[in-house]
Amino acid sequence: MRDKDNILEVVNLKTRFFTRRGVVKAVDGVNFELRHGECLCLVGESGCGKSVTALSILGLIDSLAGKVVDGEVRYNDLDLIKCPPDKLRHIRGKEIAMIFQDAQSALNPVFTVGDQIIEQIKLHLKVEDKEAKDRAIELLREMGIPSAETAVNSYPHQLSGGMRQRAMVAMGLSCDPQILIADEPTTAVDVTIKAQILDLFNELKITRKMSLIFITHDLGVVSEIGDRAVIIYAGRDVETAPVSEIIESPKHPYTVGLLNCLPDFAKTTDRLVSIRGTTPDPTALPQGCTFHPRCPRVMDICQQQEPQSIRISDEHIVSCHLYN
């Protein structure tokens, strides 16, 4: 049963894609819980399964290519994985909304930004055209878009990258969702715009009291916005802890490696400590711990046995044989 502090629980989620080259285990047993009003960051490198996790939660995995093969996503009294599509359609966008990485390709170029926000409002809420439009303008204004009355009638190409991203956030928030999933919303924008968007999210966290899942590969962003973080490697969660603990006392060798890779974090200006090798082929994951071929502290057991997640303190969970 779901803990009352948690608004969403993901348990042992497994998503596979069936390709000609073999079965891709994109998500291979991810566990985390999202608490009321917190910002949870899913952190990992490209191909680790963080975006697929988000898509699986919302039932957006293309049924021709892949499938959620195991696990539960507990929301209210529902398991979203087993939820029938028409019921899920009422939850998606209304109660759980998602913002995609690339606003340029996520917005439809032949409709105005306003039309696209209004479409979503009218789909989920029973309101008149006029009211929906007013609501869209109000949202754009809340996102800090200057002259929202004109922006609402603009086509995506008429807006700058930062403005488009704000419009995407406005769309995500249009039906007052309980949970907002943001997939790398700051990756495609410049650093000064990134700062603006991060500040916007920090504000929304307070004003809207919503729960946020923030997907990113950038630990700097995590430290700016996250309350807790889940580090994902090769489709599995390897470490979960409050952000300050992740940064100050990381436990999993992969987390340690990720932090050391950052020129910002490195104490000296000498060589960066890099993680050797590359992320494994998801059609042929290594035996035992999936990180062992790259791990600087690898032991015999790591090559044979998959580590279980261990709770090393109230808030800190790590999957590594070092802590057995």
């Binding site: 490198e45 490209s46 200057p146 700058s160 990258g161 930062g162 403005m163 410049d190 650093v191 000064t192 715009i193 990134k194 700062a195 603006q196 991060l198 500040d199 590969h217 950038d218 630990l219 700097g220 962003v221 430290s223 700016e224 300050s244 940064i247 100050e248 490696g257 990720l258 932090l259 050391n260 890779c261 950052l262 020129p263 910002d264 974090f265 490195a266 200006t269 060589r271 960066l272 400590v273 890099s274 993680i275 050797r276 590359t278 992320t279």
Partner: protein, 323 residues
């Protein structure tokens, strides 16, 4: 010779792209991608070029190699102006100046084995004979951390980080003295970024070459460069030695850039939030180009464009605050 250690001296370089309109393609204006840039690079020194997208940093990098024809200005390489070189001279120049592109995916020919890609420049410049060429390719691949047997593979068989290593090997093949690296790690994952940055540092130590390192990521710039130049809308607004630059940034735009970078430090810098977006380079604002977004804007900034002046040894800034 007087400035024997100055490798590259750029004087008032401009690159405009004409904008035309209508049936007869009337010239209606210019996109001023690079609008009067001057700086010098010493042999063995690295310049980090930082700025937001559209500020002209890539165009500048390409213009230095004459991959883009500069509109005006001088590029003195070892004291010789290369903007007037003919085709033959340009080919000679390519032995000295090389580039590593941002997207390793797009910069390698998918139908050539990587061995052939790396060896292509050796053939064009007739540097080594056929037999030595094989040896040289193997040597280059080892230098960038790849295995000799991988020379017969095609680009799609490599990961992103490996492709970037191949791009670096290609640039290294003819022993250049300057490599323009245009966002070489921004398409790579963090764990791979560190590997490639380390590789580039090792190569510098071994070959004693210089880099112009173009990036939007200030922490990467901090790691890779000796001097840093900040570009905004086609102009350099601040140029200084790395240490001074990061400790004591002068230009309000630099301050804002530094404060905008998400950091892991628990003691956060107070963030200076810039409003709005970078204006169009087709019609840059009058006066100081940064004034509509500047948090320290004064009356004079709206009318008069500030010159790049030296405020302390080697530290230049273009801002009326320091007039």
């Amino acid at each position: 010779m007087l400035d024997h250690e100055i490798l590259l001296d750029i004087k008032n370089l401009k690159k405009y792209y004409p904008v035309t309109s209508g049936l007869f393609s009337a010239h209606v204006g210019d996109v001023r991608a690079v609008d009067g840039v001057s700086f010098q690079i010493k042999a063995g020194g690295n310049l980090g070029l930082v700025g937001e997208s559209g500020c002209g940093k890539s165009t500048l990098g390409r213009a230095i190699l004459r991959l883009e024809e500069p509109t005006s200005g001088e590029i003195l390489y070892k004291g010789k102006d290369i903007t007037t070189l003919d085709k033959k001279g340009l080919r000679e120049l390519r032995k000295e100046l090389q580039i590593v592109f941002q997207d390793p995916e797009a910069s390698l020919d998918p139908r050539m084995t990587v061995g052939d890609s790396i060896g292509e420049a050796l053939i064009i410049h007739k540097i080594v004979g056929e037999k030595e060429r094989e040896e040289k390719i193997v040597e280059l691949m080892k230098q960038v951390g790849l295995e000799a047997k991988q020379a017969d593979l095609y680009p799609h068989e490599f990961s992103g980080g490996q492709k970037q290593r191949i791009g670096i090997a290609r640039a290294l093949a003819i022993n250049p003295s300057l490599i323009v690296a245009d966002e070489p790690v921004s398409a790579l994952d963090v764990s791979i970024q560190a590997q490639v940055l380390n590789l580039m540092m090792d190569i510098q130590q071994e070959f004693g070459l210089s880099y112009i390192f173009i990036a939007h990521d200030l922490s990467v710039i901090k790691y890779m460069s000796h001097r840093v130049a900040v570009m905004y809308l086609g102009k350099i607004v601040e140029l200084g030695d790395k240490k001074e630059f990061f400790q004591d940034p002068l230009h309000p735009y630099t301050e804002a850039l530094l404060s905008a970078v998400p950091t892991l430090q628990s003691k956060k810098r107070e963030r200076i939030l810039l409003h709005g977006d970078v204006p169009s380079p087709l019609a840059p604002p009058p006066g100081c180009r940064f004034h509509p977004r500047c948090h320290k804007v004064m009356e004079i900034c709206r009318n008069i464009e500030p010159e790049l002046i030296e405020v302390s040894s080697g530290h230049q800034v273009a801002c009326h605050l320091y007039d």
